[in-house]
């Protein structure tokens, strides 16, 4: 069985998007400096956050399809204290704004005059599974650039909390919205918006038995990891011991090294599951760092091959790690 999750770009999740809308609304009510910019910014609020359209109509600004220019435009507005949220729409389109994000926005607070308040900018984009140029996940590229924070929440609660934090934190945050996680993957407190979630703090999703495996994931890989263990428990002989500490990183830069090392101290086994190209990815950085600092830890990585994404979403789904691969990797330690 491949394609473990429904990967249909025409049934995108809404609960994470609703949480982002709620976070924007709450933050904008509290802080008049927050303004929304982007292609179709106003119509997006009409469909996704009608409260903003109704109560704060002069705070969303539709800009042309000029992603690079739009980020630079937002940088200009930030010079007078505006806290812009720039919507790039699809994550692949971030490539069009690499110059303004990496050269302008990321350098802004570094080159400024001593004593000037640091500017706050949030750049948001969504992951889809729509093909070669609408299915890519460029988060690792941004983690490489000093001056940028990078977050990939995998639940509505974390989406709300991280957006609130990004808007209250001086600096530039790249906020990824993972629309490929089915709404059915959220339950219980994942659905409750309880306030800000700090940058650089992972979340323990499940505590395993002592001496087992620490599994790290983020974004779409978080439900892959959980579903694999859930299904395993239902399917197999319970006498076979399969247990793991499951961690959702949530924040890729800064990353929660403290949490990762704390759990590795319990078991010495690390499995990293990425929803993205493994080569040069987040997992590679984590693996290399752990290898240098905790050489006794055994490390395995699961991720996506460095291959171009096909237009057929089911084919894209086959590129992701399968439940069986996850179970086999855990058992192999």
């Amino acid at each position: 069985m491949r394609a473990p999750l429904k990967a249909d770009p025409f049934s995108r999740n809404h609960l994470i998007r609703d949480a982002i809308g709620a976070a924007l609304y709450d933050a904008m009510k509290a802080d008049p400096a927050i303004h929304l910019f982007g292609e179709g910014a106003e119509i997006k609020m009409h469909f996704d956050a009608p409260q903003i359209e109704k109560e704060l109509p002069d705070r969303a600004h539709t800009l042309p399809i000029s992603e690079d220019g739009n980020v630079n435009f937002a940088v200009g507005a930030s010079l007078l204290g505006v806290k812009p949220v720039v919507d790039i729409i699809t994550a692949d389109f971030l490539y069009r704004a690499m110059d303004s994000i990496c050269n302008t926005a990321a350098k802004l607070n570094f080159v400024q005059v001593e004593g000037e308040p640091p500017r706050t900018i949030v750049i948001r984009a969504e992951f889809l599974m729509g093909g070669p140029t609408t299915g890519q996940r460029p988060e690792a590229l941004f983690c490489h650039i000093p001056g940028l924070n990078v977050v990939v929440p995998s639940t509505p609660r974390d989406a709300y909390g991280l957006m609130r934090t990004a808007l209250a934190t001086p600096g530039v945050t790249i906020f990824f919205e993972d629309r490929m996680i089915p709404d059915s993957e959220f339950a219980g407190e994942d659905l409750e918006y309880s306030g800000p979630v700090p940058l650089g703090v992972g979340r323990l999703r499940q505590l395993g038995g002592k001496g087992t495996v620490t599994v790290l994931s983020y974004g779409l890989a978080r439900p892959l990891m959980e579903k694999a263990l859930r299904d395993w428990r239902m399917d197999v002989d319970l006498s076979i011991k399969l247990s793991a500490d499951l961690i959702d990183l949530r924040s890729l830069y800064p990353i929660d090294w403290g949490m990762i090392k704390f759990y590795l101290a319990r078991n010495g086994n690390l499995l990293i599951i990425e929803p993205d190209v493994r080569y040069g990815g987040i997992g590679a950085e984590i693996a290399a760092t752990i290898c240098e600092e905790l050489p006794h830890v055994k490390i395995k990585r699961l991720g996506v091959l460095r291959a171009t994404i096909p237009a057929n979403p089911a084919l894209h789904g086959t590129m992701l790690p399968t439940e069986q691969e996850i179970i086999d990797a855990i058992n192999s330690f």
Partner: protein, 310 residues
């Protein structure tokens, strides 16, 4: 013309141009002995920055490209921290982190400058948007860029954004007919930059950028119009760069060509127009040299102290 700068003010503008010229010449000497980075100078283009800024309010904002020294001086950024910054010293405006190409001094409304060609235009459009819609004052923003920038996507996206968002932005093209050492036949398929502007519905005109008085007069009128209408305007200022593109790079132009261009030197033209006696002009140069010498000594002195105490 009623808007023409009065004689005392004309002398001030002349003195400012001289200060830029002298400062850049002294910095050039430091570059030559390896104490400055690859600086970009404005020699021959001084009239534009000086004329534009003088015709606007002190509270109006400036955004510049990578050739920033003239604009900073025009905006009255203090000399000593400016010198320290372009030399990359810790006592600089931005702690030596920004250098000449990312210089800023928001307290003097010199808001932003950027090395990558064209970036300054959409950034200035966004700043002008915030002046109008967030700060809600009738100040305007002026952005300086070169003719070469008009081939870059950021220039086009910036003009489009400024036009659709109706922002109070004065776009100043310092048209020196060069992109580094590359001539317009490689980047500009139309005779004038302003032809490119008409596609964005932005009003525009072309003037002699080597006449500080002419620039001043034009910007007085255009600035008032932008303030009143709250919309962008584009001014193409024809000029001549008499320096090479940057330190450490050759100049494609022959000595004869440069000598001919030097006849259009805005400083010479203005001294002649004002009928300045030689001695008076010399006095202006002497005063600038003294100021620059003091500023450079003070800027470099800070580094000696920091090194000694460390």
């Amino acid at each position: 013309m009623p808007s023409t700068a009065s004689e005392p003010q004309a002398l001030t503008l002349y003195a400012q141009m001289v200060l830029i010229r002298v400062l850049e010449e002294e910095l050039q000497k430091l570059c030559d002995i390896g104490e400055g980075a690859d600086l970009h100078f404005n020699k021959g283009q001084e009239a534009i920055a000086v004329g534009v800024v003088a015709a606007l309010r002190p509270t109006d904002y400036v955004v510049a490209h990578h050739r920033t020294i003239a604009h900073a001086i025009a905006k009255r950024v203090p000399l000593e921290p400016l010198v320290a910054e372009v030399l990359g010293l810790p006592g600089g405006l931005c702690g030596g982190r920004a250098g000449e190409m990312h210089l800023s001094d928001p307290p003097h409304r010199f808001m932003f400058s950027f090395q990558l060609v064209g970036t300054c235009v959409p950034v200035a459009a966004g700043l002008a948007w915030a002046v109008k819609n967030y700060q809600k004052t009738d100040d305007i923003v002026v952005v300086f860029h070169g003719d070469a920038a008009t081939s870059n996507g950021q220039w086009h996206e910036g003009l489009n954004l400024a036009a659709v968002q109706k922002v109070p932005l004065l776009l100043i093209c310092e048209n020196n007919g060069l992109a580094g050492n590359v001539t317009p036949k490689y980047y500009q398929p139309v005779p004038w930059v302003e032809e490119r502007v008409s596609g964005y519905g932005i009003r525009h005109c072309r003037i002699d950028g080597n006449s500080v008085q002419g620039v001043y007069d034009a910007v007085q009128q255009v600035g008032a119009a932008i303030r009143q209408m709250g919309k962008p305007f584009f001014l193409e200022c024809m000029t001549t760069r008499l320096s090479k593109h940057k330190q450490g790079q050759g100049d494609i132009r022959s000595k004869e060509e440069l000598a001919e261009l030097a006849l259009r030197d805005p400083l010479l033209q203005e001294a002649r127009r004002l009928g300045l006696p030689h001695e008076q002009s010399d006095d202006v140069f002497c005063e600038a040299e003294e100021q620059v010498e003091l500023a450079i000594a003070a800027a470099r002195g800070e580094v000696v102290e920091a090194g000694a105490s460390g």
